[in-house]
C-alpha cells in the first residue's frame, strides 16, 4: 500500500504542466501561479480521492480555485484601481504569431459556457465524459452541450467567412 506522499509524488508531477496550461489559457500569469499552487494543495489534501485518471478531476478543482480567486479579485478591484501604480497584470500568455484570430474572435463571441466547453474539448483535449467531470455535469449533458456549442461555433465561422468574402461592410469584421 503506497503512502499518501508516495501517491502524490507519483501523480502530481504529471498534473503541473496540464494545469499550468489550463490556467494560462484563462487568467493572467500571477493569478495562474497562485491558483496552480492552490489546486495542487487541494490535490494533496484529497490525494485519496484522486481518480486513476486524475486530470479531468483536477481541472475541475482548478476551475473552482480559479473562480474563488477571481471572486476575491473582483472584491479587490476597486482598491486596486486606486493603487493602479503597481505593475498591471500582463495579458494572458500571448499566442504565437500565426494564431487563428478569426476562430479566437468567434470563440469570444459565444456564450461563456459554450466557449468553455469548446476550450476544454479542443485545448485540454478532453472527451465529453471528461468535460462532464470538470464541470460537474452528467456525461450526457456534456455531450449534448458540446455538440450544440460546436454547431454554434461552426455557424459563426461560416458567417464570418461569408462576411469577409463580401465587402467589409458587415458588422463585427475587424480590419
Amino acid at each position: 500500500m503506497e503512502s499518501r506522499r508516495e501517491r502524490f509524488e507519483r501523480i502530481a508531477p504529471g498534473l503541473i504542466e496540464p494545469v499550468r496550461r489550463y490556467l494560462a489559457r484563462r487568467t493572467d500569469p500571477t493569478t495562474a501561479e497562485d491558483v496552480l499552487a492552490e489546486t495542487l494543495l487541494v490535490c494533496w489534501r484529497r490525494v485519496e480521492e484522486l481518480p486513476e485518471e486524475p486530470l479531468p478531476f483536477v481541472y475541475g478543482v482548478a476551475r473552482l480555485c480559479l473562480r474563488n480567486a477571481e471572486r476575491s479579485a473582483r472584491r479587490q478591484e476597486r482598491v486596486a484601481a486606486r493603487v493602479a501604480a503597481i505593475d498591471p497584470p500582463a495579458e494572458a500568455a500571448p499566442g504565437p504569431e500565426e494564431r487563428d484570430e478569426e476562430v479566437a474572435a468567434a470563440l469570444a463571441a459565444l456564450r461563456a459556457a459554450d466557449a468553455e466547453l469548446l476550450r476544454l474539448w479542443a485545448w485540454e483535449q478532453l472527451a465529453p465524459a471528461e468535460i462532464a467531470t470538470v464541470l460537474g455535469i452528467t456525461p450526457n449533458a456534456a455531450s449534448i452541450r458540446l455538440h450544440r456549442a460546436r454547431g454554434k461555433l461552426a455557424e459563426r465561422l461560416r458567417k464570418d467567412a461569408a462576411a469577409s468574402g463580401h465587402e467589409e461592410s458587415r458588422e463585427g469584421r475587424r480590419p
Binding site: 502524490f8 489559457r25 489534501r45 499566442g95 485545448w123 461552426a154
Partner: protein, 213 residues
C-alpha cells in the same frame, strides 16, 4: 451527413481551435521550480483545510487561539455595552430604587454638523426615545423622570452625563431647564440634537408618535 463527414468537420474545427490556443507558446515549467512547488504543497498539510476535510486536522492550538479570540471579542462587546453605560442594552442601574437609563451628550462635532429637518423615518432609527421631565440639572448630569417611553428603556429615570463642557453644549442645544418637559431621543447612547431632542411640543410629539407608533 454521415458519421465520417461529421468526424472530419469536428477534426477541422478542433484543429482551428487549437491554433487559437493561447497556451501553445507557453514554455514548460522550470523543473526545479515545479519540484519546489510540490515540496511546498506537501509540507502544508496540517495548517490548512478545505470544505471536504472540514475542521479535522486542526491542531489544538488553533482551537485555543479561536477560543481566545471569541473571549476577547465578547469582552470588547461587553465593555462597549456596559463599560460606557451608553448602549440601549445597558442594564438599568438602580438609584434610590429607581431604575435609570444612562445617556451621554452628543460628540461636539454634532453641533457643527448640518441638520436635516426632523422626520419620522430618521427618528424611528433612534434606539432611545422618551417623553420626560427634568428633575435635576446639576453635578454634571441632567436627570429626567420619564413619563412615556417611545423606544428603549423602560426605566423610571434617564440620566444624561457628560463632561462639563459637552453637557453645557447639550443643555444649550436642547434648552434643558429644571422642571421642563422634553422629548428626547438618543442613538448609540448619545442624545441626538438637531431638533430631535427638544422641549415638548404637540408637533414634535406627533412626530414621535408617527415614528414609534
Amino acid at each position: 451527413m454521415t458519421d465520417d463527414q461529421r468526424d472530419v468537420e469536428q477534426d477541422v474545427l478542433r484543429a482551428r481551435l487549437r491554433a487559437a490556443d493561447p497556451a501553445s507558446s507557453l514554455p514548460p515549467a522550470d523543473p526545479e521550480r515545479a519540484a519546489r512547488l510540490l515540496e511546498d504543497v506537501m509540507s502544508t498539510e496540517l495548517t490548512t483545510e478545505n470544505r471536504a476535510t472540514g475542521t479535522r486536522g486542526r491542531g489544538p492550538l488553533t482551537w485555543l487561539v479561536a477560543a481566545a479570540a471569541v473571549l476577547i471579542i465578547a469582552g470588547v462587546g461587553i465593555f462597549a455595552v456596559v463599560g460606557h453605560d451608553d448602549g440601549p442594552a445597558a442594564p438599568p442601574t438602580a438609584v434610590d430604587d429607581q431604575s435609570v437609563t444612562e445617556l451621554s451628550a452628543p460628540s461636539p462635532t454634532a453641533y457643527a454638523a448640518k441638520c436635516m429637518v426632523p422626520s419620522a423615518e430618521t427618528l424611528a432609527q433612534q434606539s432611545v426615545a422618551f417623553d420626560g421631565t427634568v428633575t435635576t440639572l446639576a453635578d454634571g448630569a441632567v436627570t429626567l423622570s420619564v413619563g412615556h417611553w417611545y423606544a428603549g428603556g423602560p426605566t423610571d429615570l434617564v440620566r444624561v452625563q457628560a463632561p462639563e463642557e459637552e453637557l453645557q453644549d447639550l443643555v444649550g442645544a436642547v434648552k434643558f431647564e429644571q422642571g421642563g418637559r422634553y422629548l428626547v431621543s438618543a442613538t448609540n447612547g448619545r442624545v441626538t440634537v438637531c431638533g430631535f431632542s427638544a422641549p415638548y411640543s404637540a408637533d414634535l410629539a406627533a412626530l414621535y408618535d408617527q415614528a414609534f407608533g
